[in-house]
């Protein structure tokens, strides 16, 4: 096919990054995984409602609970990262602000995941 791009367009190299499908599919896969994880999360929270520190720690220390909570945090944060990216793409018009928002979003998501998972592991391994 003849390349219809102008020389300046070629130099700028803007356009599709060709990974939109991966973004879309990842969003759906994490959505499906979130269904059972949210059910586990809600049921656990209702079951432990009103409990004190010792009881919550004992709950989180159980290996199955620790692993499920880590899976929930990781999956949920990834899903959140993908969803909020679309909001920024749709509603933030200025390229500079958009770039800054994307970086802030990515850093925040990694920070949320790191803090949560570290806390879970610290409790699980009896810190």
């Amino acid at each position: 096919m003849t390349d219809m791009k102008t020389p300046i367009a070629k130099v700028r190299g803007l356009g599709s990054a060709k990974d939109g499908t991966h973004h879309w599919l990842s969003h759906r896969v994490t959505a499906i995984a979130n269904i059972p994880l949210v059910v586990f999360f809600v049921v656990s929270f209702v079951g432990n409602a009103g409990k004190g520190h010792a009881e919550w720690v004992a709950w989180l220390k159980q290996p199955v609970v620790s692993v499920l909570m880590i899976l929930f945090i990781a999956n949920m944060v990834y899903h959140m990262r993908l969803g909020l990216q679309v909001l920024i793409e749709d509603y933030v018009y200025d390229p500079g602000t958009k770039f800054a928002s994307m970086i802030a979003l990515t850093f925040s998501c990694v920070l949320i995941a790191a803090l949560s998972i570290f806390s879970i592991l610290r409790i699980a391994f009896g810190g």
Partner: protein, 131 residues
Amino acid sequence: MAKANRPLSPHLQVYRWGAHMAVSIIHRATGSALAFGAILLTWWLVAMATGHEYFSTVQDYAGSWIGRLVLFGITFSLMQHLASGIRHLFMDMGRLYDLKINTLSAKSTFVFSVVATIGIWYAAYKVMGVI
């Protein structure tokens, strides 16, 4: 981004408001609310790992009337986002596009989220022995 004063194509304001539009924008709004909820969940987990004293402080914040209001809103957001998310998954498979079932499924997500939210809070208060 071109800022020229070009004529715009008809947008949202020309359409009659319907359940399918409400569920769509509320999916985004609840998603954003849940991002705030994720920050609160992180704070709560960090508090638990920090120790008994700080955890009690955070639990007191959560148990205050404003804390309960925020948590109630997050519960509703979670249930609504879950229901409309599942509706989206069916639409991704090419289902629920027929006009009647589309509107019905959109309305059902609200029925589900309201009932589920009240049910979750009722159960939680029951577990706490308040009611």
